[in-house]
Symmetry: C5
């Protein structure tokens, strides 16, 4: 039985985990989901590490980043940690970050968050079940999660 | 008996540790607190590491960051180190950072610092005593520490 | 038989892998190419690590970076991870990044992407087949990939 | 006999080591000081590492940072490395950095450099001889090194 | 016989290696130089690592950085990697970086590059042959490589 970790935060303003888990369950047969909720993005990496240590095959990291420059630096430190962890374990940790300055309209921002969580849950499901070339048919096609695809040039 | 480390600095302008320790003791039965005071944020990571090596289950890191761009870079290096340490040990180090440019009014800034320390001490106590889903009921609800909650979208 | 990994993304707007693989095959006798497609640059490092673990001698990392400041930070975290991985394995991972703000004209941007992929595929082929001094005749000559060479001063 | 490393640079415009060593000798009985001089801040981490490998209990790192944005990035890389090293060894490396843009008046800048070196030498001496709570009486009191203390809020 | 690695790039616009190697050979008796040329700065760290693995005592890293903000981030990632590598191996990797925005006049920029390479080659030679206090007489004297010394305050 495949185990996938889902890490989210109380800082986030949308319950992205709910939507992501729905997609994961639909796509991965007999999936076991382990959820871990932490205060903010700087606590996600250690939660992900613990879930990997407990046997999860991959983690979905549902980060939420505030609008200030300090928040951006926190995001940078967080991104560095997640990649560090991935190359230590050789496991995917899909980073589903929403930045509060992506949209001014709260309704739009919520929509972006929900869609991004769902689309990246699908990405993860595909990588887990079909392997390294699962996404190859979409390579170079300008996929976006939460916003309309940019499309190929 | 659970041991929690509390690292603070002489650079900070508020004694956040006092408030954090009060909350921790109230919440975690038979808690052992080990305090370590260092000059500034760049010295916190090694203090946290030593406390983890001495058997602490987690650390509360009470950082204070000045207002200049150089201070922001120091904050970034510090954040990278704390996450690096967390993913090495698999232990939570809750980062309770106050940025001196968060509020112009000294009284307000002090209030933010005290409240943040207390709220993150509570977060840590919950994670330690109730585990990965302790905070899940608050996931996606826009919690803030020291400032009013942003709330869910 | 030499194995080279090629990692690309669905975020990219040009299928750079196709062009890079063509050049690699032409240049490296009996080359085995392993392709791995991921959502975006923050997923490339772990894919590269897996390919190295499967025996690849080197990896071509075909990143694509959006135009915002947040994208730049993601690029930075990605660059740190790739170099971290290289110095852990002692294997080249040639970073073929295209930044969406490099050219305003989509046609020009596509051309830059294709040429960069091909030129770096050639660089990698030379390093793999002829070793550390393969590129020495070009040292200090201001080579650019995708844009005209700057030339020596 | 306790050994402390002192690393300084030829890039610095003030001989901070002289002042720091004086304070260290006065405060730590039978201290052995090992000095290592390198060109600039990017060479300090490896010198510190070598001194720790030779048995030093701690290192005082006397960095000097130029005024440009590039210099700030070098400072950031340096800060990351020093903290990385500290959490690998579990030893304090007190970072006594002077930024050339801290003061316009050369005389003032020199004074800042000398005082900072002395005050951090004292911090290190206290941590070495009296342990984790040596500085606790000053926690939250807004200590500054080289500039007047900010004081508690 | 001492071995020193010299890593340079095809991106650089000046053949700095030639000048650096000349100085190294003059200063270090029976020196063995191993040269490794890579496309750009993001490829230098792995080349340096390979040369250290082959037995080199130290490496001279001849980087060249473009003028854009993206180039600065690449420089930052590169600096982090070089220091990471140095503290893993305990060997000096002297970072001789030229930033294309240091001088507008191409002739001046070339002169800076050549002089910097030569002066840092000398620094490395002194550290290798005379050890940690070789540069101590110049500590705090404001040495610059390629530009006039700033001098002591």
């Amino acid at each position: 039985m495949v185990c996938v970790g889902v890490v989210d935060t109380t800082f986030a303003r949308v319950d992205m985990a709910k939507h992501a888990i729905e997609v994961l369950r639909k796509r991965v047969p007999a999936l076991k989901v382990k959820r871990y909720t932490v205060p903010g993005i700087k606590d996600i990496a250690v939660a992900a590490k613990r879930l990997l240590d407990e046997g999860c095959e991959a983690v979905l990291a549902l980060g939420w980043v505030g609008p200030t420059q300090t928040d951006k630096y926190s995001y940078l430190a967080y991104s560095i940690a997640l990649q560090n962890l991935q190359i230590t374990y050789g496991k995917h940790i899909i980073d589903v970050t929403v930045h509060e300055d992506e949209a001014e309209d709260p309704k739009k921002l919520k929509e972006v968050a929900v869609e991004r969580a769902k689309e990246h849950a699908l990405n993860l499901a595909l990588l887990l079940t079909r392997g390294p070339e699962a996404l190859t048919p979409l390579a170079g096609t300008g996929q976006r999660q939460g916003w309309p695809d940019a499309g190929p040039l």
